[in-house]
Symmetry: C2
Subunit: 319 residues, 2 copies
């Protein structure tokens, strides 16, 4: 079934009116409608065999990503799954380095989001084929939210390695394996929740959602900040009181500040002991992130960049 | 007329088949069809008063920029010209920071190209109004290619300054004014030509176009490189022979290499004494450009970044 040829790519603009109740709101995205450009790949081998992929957006502008997916689709339709997965890097390069389309990127913004939706659909299609052929699902999940395990099935990675590469990783990882296994079985994979403290939520909502999350076993909480300092102080104080001194608080400004503003603002929130400030400034300002990180280190506050890679040259400032 | 309200924005996808004869070809854009997303603004004051703006593209993908211009148009239509120009920074922020659309940027790629086309059209509209009102054109031109002067009329800049700011600039610029004026009148504003040596041109075309440009008075020549080292050596050698040791040669790889490849490749072209290598690597890799610059400095070769600002956090490594 790896010989299946991709015969059609369709893409839909799917929007959810999350802004109505301020779900997902932050200092930069004050009225987000969480949305997706949703790609479906069809093949010539089996009408039921399809690959599904999406890229996340926050409402207006999704139609531009849809337009970009359509533009890229000519590079996908007609290929066999085997052709793609036998040279996945080449396939990525094909999408990102088209001699004309790369001009409107390269490898960033709309065209990168569109590429992501297509690549996700290809991964999904591959996993469905593998699932039928040798029971290798794309993801492994548990339904317990406090012990969330959601990751790409390890065999997609290990199968791509040579025996020696796989062996080296295993030998290296042997150290500490037992204690990690024990910790994982006892505590679950570490995860945090953002869903209690979107910027547009009232203090009442925040209190209720945070209490519910605590009862469910969550120990790490992220709060959106950056629109109004007094609001941030009040909200961080409230959350810290609710979760107590031993649970973890993180804050996220979603790119709102310039470098100096970030340092000043976060310094005023230091008393609530956030583990990190996420996306304090322009996502492209690598050196700016380094300056903020350096300034906040004495306060014990780290800097995290966003979970979005809109461009090739992504970076990660450890927290 | 500054009170004119913008009543309509139309945008067209205009393409020119330049790839047929390899005009504009380089190491990354091997078959470019030089194209534009072309914006026209109409107002309620005078049917003949329109603002024209464009953003450059190289063919496929222009339709994505057109789609993005349409998405942004709701932020433009209904505004008066006065509202916009009295807070041009605010207007830029409005286009680049829409709470939903910024997700597909921010300030990079397709959405930034679309924003540029709109801003250009607003500048043009403003200049046409000013031209009618007080004879202040947008640009000043001469038609002599060897003495090309093409710049935004200085009054758009000086009018935006306070008297003290303008005075400070004038006092600072007084030093050397006479010699600069004499040089400008004698030699014209320095310009170079790229049109002789697109990557897809034959040696015969290259020889002919370069000879013609020399006869027209050009003294600075840019050559596209980066696809094949032996071709580059042959072409750079040919051009250097044609233009002689005293004219200037620049080379441009259009983002083709990684950092080490750039250093090795350009070192092999050093014997032709290029003034700079333009876009040696990924445009987002600021530190990579710095490494290349440092490595090539002992050879007397500078590094130039591209003439495209696809994102806010642009940089310029001096050559």
């Amino acid at each position: 079934m790896l010989e299946s040829k991709i015969t059609q790519l369709t893409v839909r603009d799917v929007r959810f009116p999350t802004s109505l109740e301020q779900h997902g709101s932050d200092a930069m995205h004050t009225d987000p409608d969480y949305s997706v450009a949703y790609v479906v790949l069809e093949t010539d081998s089996d009408a039921a065999l399809k690959g599904y992929g999406l890229t996340f957006t926050v409402g207006r502008g999704t139609e531009i990503v849809v337009c970009a997916v359509k533009a890229l689709s000519t590079l996908v339709v007609g290929k066999t799954l085997k052709e793609i997965i036998s040279d996945f890097r080449g396939f990525y390069r094909l999408l990102s380095s088209d001699g004309q389309m790369r001009w409107v990127g390269p490898e960033k913004g709309v065209i990168q989001l569109a590429t992501a939706a297509i690549l996700n659909a290809v991964w999904d299609l591959w996993a469905r084929v593998e699932g039928k052929v040798r029971n290798k699902p794309l993801k492994t999940n548990t339904s317990d939210p406090a012990k969330l395990i959601s990751c790409i099935d390890f065999r997609y990675i290990t199968d791509a390695l040579t025996e020696q590469e796989a062996l080296d990783i295993l030998v290296k990882a042997k150290k500490g394996q037992k204690s990690r296994e024990e910790q994982m079985l006892k505590e679950g994979y570490p995860a945090y929740t953002t869903s209690c403290a979107w910027l547009g939520y009232t203090d009442q909502q925040l209190t209720q959602l945070c209490s519910e999350a605590l009862a469910q076993g969550w120990t790490k909480f992220k709060v959106k900040v950056g629109a109004d300092l007094q609001d941030d102080i009040r909200r961080c104080s409230l959350i810290r009181k609710l979760i107590g001194p031993n649970n973890t608080l993180m804050i996220d400004a979603n790119q709102r500040w310039d470098v100096n503003e970030a340092i000043t603002w976060v310094t005023k929130l230091a008393e609530f002991h956030p583990l990190w400030i996420e996306e304090p400034t322009c996502p492209d300002d690598v050196l700016g992130h380094a300056s903020i990180s350096k300034a906040l280190a004495p306060l014990g506050i780290g800097v995290a960049t966003g979970d979005i890679t809109h461009q090739l040259d992504c970076y990660w400032t450890t927290c």
